[in-house]
Amino acid sequence: MMREFWHYFRNGLLGENPVLKLMIGLCSVLAVSVRVENCLGMGAAVIFVLTCSSLVISLIRNFVPNEVRIPIFIVVISTFTTIVDLVMKAYLPPLSKAMGIFIPLIVVNCIIMARAEAFASRKPPLLAVADALGMGVGYTLVITAIGVVRELFGYGEILSHPVFPRAYQGMMAMILPPGAFLLIGISIALLNWSLRKVKS
């Protein structure tokens, strides 16, 4: 059982990395990854919501009639998202302020719904959690990696500590949307390139 758990976890991490391979959850990646601390906050919130909702969805998967499966999944996901939103507003106000509109958009983050629809609703709870953790961590790694690059070149800082000398004006392209698109394109190409070595 443990081996299977590890298999799905690793699969979510690299084999089917949500952002780079499955192309889902991009909205939040591009928008939030301007600051590394936003990425970590977002990543943690996504991992929590994804794991909880995958667990609950796979628990109730046999009682969900097909006609209303989407609304039921989405109500479960939005409940956990709202909980994260309220808790963050109450106990972590600075982070909640920084992430603004993106917390409600977690519920719309395609990763959670896609995994619920494609995976959690078919697999037993333990595997669903494994996949959710793998996906969540995979998502956080990618978003943080992009966040580091964007913050470093955009503001010359990491976690708001200046890294580059004061004179560094900051590359605007990295902050605006086009830079983010480019960055995602490059990282997928890099992933393909590195996986190619593994495959052949």
Binding site: P65, E67, V68, P71, V75
Partner: protein
Amino acid sequence: MNILIPTVLVGALGLAFGLMLSFLAKKFAVPVNPLVQEVERVLPGANCGACGFPGCSGLAEKIASGEAPVNACPAGGPKVWAELTRLLGQEGGNWEVKRAVVLCQGGKGVAQVVAEYSGVASCKAANLLPGSFKGCRFGCLGLGDCVRVCPFSAMHIDPESGLPVVDWEKCTGCGKCVAECPRKILALVPRKEQVTVACVSPDSAREVRKVCARGCIKCQVCVRTCPEGAITFENGKIVISREKCTLCGLCIEKCPTHCIIRVGRTTALLEVRG
């Protein structure tokens, strides 16, 4: 108190939406024949279209209604066909499994290239130019139309030779690449070890020699050397009959342009390129 109001409110909303959806689902229900669904689940689901029907669901309807034979889906292979016969309650038959093979060795350094082609990267487009960029008008252009069309990614262009290579493990014999190739250098052959002529050019010896080092020059050396008489020369083409051939490999050595190759088991071009 302010726990009750939201709960009741959202509950009412849920009830309203639930009723609406389930009622509409019933009214707009699409009549689905369960047998078709079962057949569709057995089919590989690659929607490759090799069977000639619009995707697997199209084929599933035809198989369920008996209009299509059980082995109409080449991609499925014997495993699926056996399952389908059990499902439809028919008796099992033995079926011939086919695989694709590349009948051209005119790759880099073998076939003459007469022009530098930088147009649209597709064999069909390149083939529109009269004679295209290779000396031989029948040889493979190597721009990968077949690779792109293969739904099972069983083909890739070998970087050294620039020729397509078929991986028989992944190939399901669906024949899409054979249809796609504008130069018709791909063919479907039974999946067993065999010897075949890797050239489709009908040109005479003088023209073939001018444009390709490994083209078939119809010298008929192979016809004479074959101990079993399996090789014959019919209307301008060398034909090797699979029944008579005992895979002795004599013709492969004797052929002056190494045009005859051994094909089978794993990759299409087993023969070391001479």
